[in-house]
């Protein structure tokens, strides 16, 4: 059977977990991959825990099942670590990437992760400093691309910028701010 690269995004309603999955998917498509990006819908409300997924492949993707064993888990909100088992199903040698102020080693110990690497970046701080708003979703894409190595950095960044240009037509400040924040996350992400 075909090999897939699968991602699970954890966030809270309103933080843009779905948007991050869509942006990551489209960026991956631009590099020639076949992609899926889909949210998990339930009775979600602003602030409630939400999930979104990616599935990437070099060939056409035919399976339409939930992602059960992700290669990567991205957590947009560290407060979710208290209430949700974010490492559930995470593949051996996979990666957990968390938006937090804590050190990677501390998160690794707290969640007792032994089979995967843990990476952290303070995406909230970066977002607040550069974008003046707590919107960590696009910022995390920088950490995501670096840690996974599944996408080529330059083309991924170019693609994300292109999508932002469509979304924020003419609002240069937001577009450039997002790009800067993504680059900073790429530089600042720390691994344990």
């Amino acid at each position: 059977m075909q090999q897939y690269f699968e991602v699970r995004w954890h966030g809270r309603g309103g933080q843009g977990a779905k948007t991050a999955a869509l942006l990551f998917g489209e960026a991956a498509m631009e590099t020639g991959k076949y992609i899926q990006a889909f949210p998990e819908y339930g009775p979600e409300r602003t602030g409630a825990p939400v999930k979104a997924y990616n599935r990437l492949s070099d060939g056409p993707i035919r399976i339409h099942t939930q992602v059960i064993n992700p290669d990567v888990v991205v957590v947009l909100d560290a407060s979710l670590l208290e209430s949700i088992n974010v490492t559930e199903g995470l593949k051996d040698n996979g990666a957990l990437i968390v938006n937090t102020q804590e050190k990677a080693a501390a998160i690794k110990e707290k969640l007792r992760v032994t089979n995967a690497k843990v990476a952290v970046v303070d995406a909230t701080k970066i977002a607040v400093e550069i974008l003046k708003k707590n919107v960590p979703n696009t910022v995390m894409l920088g950490a995501m691309v670096k840690i996974t190595g599944v996408l080529e950095w330059d083309s991924a960044l170019a693609s994300i910028k292109e999508k932002l240009e469509v979304k924020f037509r003419g609002r240069t400040e937001i577009i450039e701010g997002n790009v800067e924040a993504i680059k900073r996350a790429y530089d600042e992400v720390e691994v344990a």
Partner: protein, 392 residues
Amino acid sequence: MKTIAKTGNEAMAYAMKQINPDVVAAYPITPATEIVQIFSNYVADGEVDTEFVAVESEHSALSACVGASLAGGRVMTSTASQGLALMHEILYIAAGNRLPIVIALVNRSLSAPINIHCDHSDTMGSREAGWMQLYCANSQEAYDSLIIALKVAEQTAVPAIVSTDAFIISHAMERLEVLEDEEVQRFIGEYKPRFSALDLENPKTFGPLDLQDYFFEHKRAQIDDFSKVLGTYNKVAQEYAELSGRYYPALEEYKTDDADVAIFTAGSTADTAKEVVDGLREQGRKMGLVRMRMWRPLPVEEIKAALGKFKAVAVMDRSDTMADFGGPVFLETRGILYDAKKKPLLTDYVYGLGGRNIDISDILRVYDEIEQVVKQGKIDKLITYLGVRGEE
């Protein structure tokens, strides 16, 4: 031809944009809301010439479509679940008046209990309304099928429903290839209605009372025209393949040539099952898949020929008939195979109601069990409710 990333809903809205219908009348309902929401943006941005009619219910939506279609327009709408149920009365009126309206539909369970996720109860509940039905496996197919269905509908004067699986396809972004606007326009051509209420030179009466004297003949004529849909579909699907490189048979067979057993199912699950079949083949197990894409009209001879060659077949139904006899695909398939010279042992798996995830392991289990049926030469359990707690 260009490659883009779109969800099932976005893909269907994009196809509607390229079709550029005269009238769209619609009422929003989860998970199909996005289709008309995105389409109404196209209207507001002047990218289509469509008259968009915002109405107060799905009953009104399809009623407005009937009026617009009687007036000679190219007409489309979109709905799901309860919305289709509320349209039910008007479905028959559209079909009986031979109005080639096309619905971009998202398959969602029917209440109660209330649920917004996928099963096929909504369209299966409208099987007798006289509409062509196409069940799509992915976003690409949803885009392509709307274009194909519109042309078939207009050529046969039979309305059509094209559907995707709620959320699994409707809200999942995938990579797909789309045609240029002009290519779509050239393919569907100009719509020339047989009759138009606005043709003042040739006034006609539409929808008059039709009692014991002629009703039966008119119904028989409708049934007769309906029987021609498959032939027209085959021709149009071929034309579309020449244009796009993508061919969609009414009934699809996957790795069935030397197979002893097969699953017979529809929608996104059929796509997933293809991957499972590839895995089984790698293990040397001769198993195949038959995908039900068109379920109205029923491709009877095709089903007989396709399923007749297996020793055993497991139907996977994403709805139930409440007949205490499994799902509709199973029931009708059994009927079709009754007089077949060669017929397989046939079992039914009702699965995925209300959006219950269907995993690769679930499909593998069905293949394992149907293989067991062949070994034993008999069926132990005719109807299984796959993965239901408390039952198995």
